[in-house]
């Protein structure tokens, strides 16, 4: 079966790699590979390279799923200039001077009706210590031992998206993925069933045919748009619509921190992501309240240095109404775009591919291309992206009222049903996993919990009350001490963040 992927950005090559993996398994078993994969990309079109951070799922993908392709974690880190990501540090969101952490990993007890570890830490100390990953994040520790072999595994990555694309491309090419350089000028659809049969390329006028198509062409949406995909806009629910990315150099005194800094600004927020050679940074804002030029001034004033924006990105947050139309699936930014907060883009791509493979299970296209199956896929992915939208909206429900932007978020932004629900219920009790979507890939209580506590929607008083009603209040003190004690012991053999990254980089220099 032939699959053509359009677009050679992160999503495109990740998609190719995931399908290559299926082939690799079959080949290992002495069977015929099922998929014939081609990636069409244009060297004239720059990639967006959104997502310089990701979630734990990406780490799992690199480490376990891509093992068959000969990828190891340290290799990946070395080749892509990646750093580990233990979580996000959210600064100034609930008022200037406030700060909270959102670790990659939830508390160990997040699947219970009463999340004892979480509540114990909220009640007795720092809530982020409820997760070992959060414990490390709060103390600038990495998840690697001094021998750089053993890891506790609780982390994700920060990376240079261009390098990740290139790296995955090299792996894919090694495994027989075909690569065509060209731009698509027209689509040729079957007049009877509406399927996409082939595309014509610019200049060479070459015609490429395929059984199935995956559109990873970013905002251009070269396939899904002409296929008639509708768009569900989130612009009423998410306040930002523009971004200015820029590069920040490391100062010689900088210690590497394994965290994404998400720093609230007068009209949005700024990200700062550490990679090997530089920080990838940017300001995400709303053009209803500021302009790109003014945004630069605001930011320079706040961070105390000059910046040089690489470009000015304008975007509309939202998703495709249907991700899978006929024999085409919209993936990556072509399928949905929220905003960089919580780094959901690559996560969604992986879940989309998981679900896609689940529906196919090595069957051929014709048997599977029925509306019932497509509808199920579209409903599932639609709900998933909607849930991430809700999670992101929650971040804007803060105490800040110092600018028109934050006042707007607090009083005028259209709250989604989930956010309304979560805010209302949190007034009186701590939520649990039961309150959230449990479908494959959704964030759930484990992720929501950090922001709810961080922004003060879930208070220490509420935690105390819950613990008391369930006669766990006294136990919670002991539980807290035990958690800290266990984490302390577990952390003894671990390298500090700065030490781990710099040892790795120095070793690389030595090799060169």
């Amino acid at each position: 079966m032939k699959i053509v992927i359009v677009g050679g950005g992160t999503a495109g090559w990740l998609t190719a790699a995931m399908i290559v993996k299926t082939n690799a398994i079959l080949k290992k078993q002495g069977l015929q590979p099922v998929y014939d994969i081609t990636v069409i990309e244009s060297s004239n079109v720059p990639i967006i390279g959104a997502g310089e951070g990701s979630t734990g799922l990406f780490q799992e993908t690199i480490v376990s799923r891509f093992k068959d392709l000969g990828i190891t974690e340290l290799d990946f880190i070395n080749e892509t200039g990646a750093t580990l990501k233990m979580g996000i540090r959210l600064k100034d969101w609930n008022g200037i001077g406030t700060e909270f952490l959102s670790p990659i990993q939830p508390s160990d007890t997040f699947k219970y009706n009463i999340d004892l570890n979480f509540l114990s830490c909220l009640s007795n100390g720092n809530v982020s210590d409820a997760s070992f990953c959060g414990y490390l994040l709060g103390r600038d520790l990495s998840s690697y031992n001094f021998d750089r072999i053993k890891t506790t595994g609780h982390h994700s990555y920060h990376f240079d998206a261009h390098k990740v694309g290139k790296y995955l491309k090299s792996i894919c090419i090694k495994h027989g993925v075909k690569n065509i350089d060209g731009e698509i000028t027209s689509l040729n659809r079957n007049s009877l069933n509406g399927n996409l049969e082939s595309v014509t390329l610019k200049e060479t006028t070459e015609v490429i045919t395929s059984d199935f198509w995956i559109d990873c062409s970013g905002f251009a949406r070269v396939l899904v748009k002409p296929m008639g995909a509708g768009w569900v806009s989130y612009s009423n629910q998410l306040p930002v619509n523009g971004a200015i990315p820029f590069i920040e150099k490391y100062e010689t005194t900088d210690k590497v921190k394994l965290e994404t800094l998400a720093w609230a600004q007068p009209n949005g927020w700024m990200w700062r992501i550490p990679t090997e050679e530089r920080y990838g940074s940017g300001y995400v804002f709303s053009d209803m309240f500021t302009t790109a030029d003014k945004a630069v001034d605001e930011l320079e004033k706040n961070i105390g240095k000059k910046i040089e924006p690489i470009k000015h990105l304008k975007f509309e947050t939202g998703r495709l109404e249907k991700f899978w139309i006929k024999n085409v699936i919209g993936m990556g930014l072509a399928g949905s775009f929220l905003e960089p907060l919580e780094a959901t883009s690559i996560h969604t791509t992986i879940i989309q591919l998981d679900t896609f493979c689940h529906h196919f299970l090595y069957n051929d296209i014709e048997t599977i291309s029925v509306d019932t199956i497509r509808n199920k896929y579209n409903t599932h992915i639609g709900q998933l992206v909607d849930e991430f939208r809700d999670l992101i909206q929650l971040h804007y429900m803060t105490n800040r009222e110092d600018t028109d932007f934050w006042k707007f978020c607090k009083y005028s932004l259209q709250k989604t049903d989930s956010v309304k629900y979560v805010l209302e219920v949190s007034k009186h009790m701590s939520l649990s996993y039961l309150d959230f979507d449990s479908s494959h890939g959704s964030a759930g209580w484990g992720v929501w919990s950090w922001t709810l506590a961080g922004l003060g929607h879930l208070t220490k008083e509420t935690a105390d009350k819950t613990l008391k009603n369930f006669c766990m209040y006294d136990d919670s003190k002991k539980a807290y001490e035990q958690i800290i004690k266990n984490s302390k012991i577990k952390a003894i053999p671990l390298m500090s963040s700065d030490e781990f990254m710099k040892t790795l980089w120095n070793k690389k220099l030595g090799k060169r």
């Binding site: 398994i25 079959l26 078993q29 002495g30 069977l31 009706n113 009463i114 679900t355 689940h358 529906h359 196919f360 299970l361 090595y362 069957n363 048997t367 599977i368 029925v370 019932t372 199956i373 509808n375 199920k376 309304k420 629900y421 979560v422 209302e424 219920v425 007034k427 009186h428 009790m429 701590s430 649990s432 996993y433 039961l434 309150d435 449990s438 479908s439 494959h440 009350k465 819950t466 008391k468 009603n469 369930f470 006669c471």
Partner: protein
């Protein structure tokens, strides 16, 4: 926080016991009338009751053996679905699924279909049942849950009494009276309840466990959603027959009849039986006649029950929560009644009622109702799927074949099964729903696994797929080890009666 439970049946006393087990901040009163009989529906359970009983209790007020002895119970390893296809064939719906049920490809399950023509051999429960064994471990002198889990069969009248005795040990307040009047405030919250003993009582939250009477909930504006067009039966004739230890098997028999199906549940002192049928196709008298002919013995019906399958739009409405038959009723198949009662009580006690303010918190109540409704509706679909297995020889079964309103979820599943193998992401993963482990066998019963499709897939994955080898090692593990460690059903039966 004060809670008054109205109704001292199975659901009421289980809820009261659960509050005592997990909470000290709630003050519970149970209002029941010694003059009213309980329905005692449900002589079978799902494994949620096994969890509730086996998770340690303060001072060991409940233990499994104690429970079994006092409620005349036996363990339940599976439901034996007989003649649903109309060809006389049987299939177990086991309490424990296959050990590969959580994988994307349930290898053992598929291999079992190919090798044995049916999926149930993927579960140890079926092997144990086929040899008339129990799961009682000779060496450790207790019922093992490791390899094959169980649920229970019990006397529907005794289980309520059992948990009542537990609550009395905890010091519960019991009022013996009926409800005379209910007074609601301007926000539709239940304020006062006048009792026949002259007392008037108040509560922060009320639990309606009054069975089909729905004494509190029926006074509200809460709507009833009927499943009448999706579930075909509406009547039941319960009766008993004699039991003896020589031919006891720890399973619920669910065998189709001309206009419905027959249950037969082994208890320590009798078989609890019943004919569930649809009175639009067959009269009460004809149903009795059919029963007598089938069992070749005289039948003495205990009562004649009529029911309307459905649920309330909101299980929790204002300051009233319905638990048990007062909230919903499907039908006896798969013993969902006590399972959903336990699930509802767990959700309330362990999750949605963390403080008094939660009662008036609309969002909290909405979230609770959404979770409960997902579970009830999932079971409604599951039960409907039983009827779609193919029997079509009588007017009742012809009606199902040709005219019944198939639910959207089931229609989608049936359609998908024509194009690819179903797997665990096709069923709801929400907490409390049946999940793949239960659904998969019902799909198999309904003939949704095409053998050629399985063969094609297993061939493609042949070296990846060691389902057949796993099935072989399962068989040899069973024959050479497990089988020798277990008491026979008859031996265990005698042990329980001691």
């Amino acid at each position: 926080m004060k809670i008054v439970i109205v109704g001292g049946g199975t659901a009421g006393w289980i809820t009261a016991a659960m509050i005592y087990k997990y909470r000290t901040d709630i003050d519970v009163t149970v209002v029941e009338s010694s003059k009213l009989p309980i329905i005692g529906a449900g002589e079978g359970s799902a494994d949620s009751l096994t969890w509730f009983i086996n998770e340690p209790w303060p001072n060991d007020v409940v233990t499994e053996i104690d429970f079994l002895k006092k409620t005349k119970a036996t363990p339940k390893l599976a439901i034996d679905l007989k003649n649903w296809k109309g060809d006389g064939s049987s299939l177990y719906s086991p309490i424990s699924p296959s050990s590969t049920a959580s994988l994307p490809i349930d290898k053992l399950f598929l291999a079992s279909i190919i090798k044995y023509g049916k999926s149930d051999k993927a579960s140890f429960n079926s092997w144990i049942l086929d040899d008339n064994l129990s799961t009682f471990d000779k060496k450790y002198k207790k019922i093992s849950q490791q390899i094959a889990n169980h649920a229970y069969h019990f006397d529907g009248n005794a289980i309520g009494q059992y948990f009542k005795d537990v609550c009395i040990k905890f010091g519960v307040t019991i009022i013996d009276a009926e409800i005379e009047d209910t007074i609601f405030d301007e926000n539709e919250n239940l304020k006062d309840v006048k009792l026949t003993n002259g007392e008037t009582i108040q509560s922060d939250l009320w639990i309606d466990s009054t069975g089909f009477n729905r004494i509190l909930m029926s006074k509200t504006k809460n709507k009833w959603i009927s499943f009448k067009n999706q579930l075909p039966v509406n009547s039941a004739i319960p009766f008993s027959t004699d039991v003896n230890s020589n031919n006891i098997i720890f399973k619920t028999l669910a065998e189709t009849m001309n206009s419905g199906w027959l249950w037969q549940i082994p208890l320590q002192n009798r078989y609890g039986c019943g004919y569930v049928y649809c009175d639009e196709f067959q009269t009460y008298d004809d149903s009795l006649k059919e029963l007598k002919n089938k069992l070749r013995q005289d039948i003495e019906p205990i009562k004649h029950i009529k029911f309307d399958c459905g649920r309330y739009e909101s299980t929790w409405y204002k300051n009233i929560v319905s638990i048990g038959l007062s909230s919903h009723f499907l039908e006896p198949l798969q013993a969902t009644s006590i399972h959903i009662a336990i699930f509802t009580a767990t959700n309330l006690i362990l999750h949605s009622l963390k403080s008094k303010e939660c009662i008036s918190n609309d969002a909290n109540v909405r979230g609770f109702n959404r979770r409960i409704n997902v579970v009830i509706d999932d079971y409604k679909d599951l039960l409907q799927m039983h009827y779609l297995a193919g029997r079509q020889d009588t007017p009742f079964w012809k009606f199902i074949k040709n005219e019944i309103h198939i639910s959207d979820a089931n229609r989608d599943i049936i359609e998908i099964s024509k194009h690819r193998l179903l797997n665990n992401l096709d069923v709801s993963t929400e907490h409390g729903t049946g999940g793949w482990g239960v659904w998969s066998h019902i799909f198999d019963n309904a003939g949704l696994f095409d053998k050629d499709m399985i063969k094609k897939e297993l061939y493609r994955l042949k070296k990846l797929n060691d389902g057949d080898a796993q099935l072989k090692s399962m068989s040899s593990y069973y024959t050479n080890k497990l089988k020798l460690e277990l008491l026979s059903a008859g031996e265990m039966f005698k042990y329980l009666k001691l």
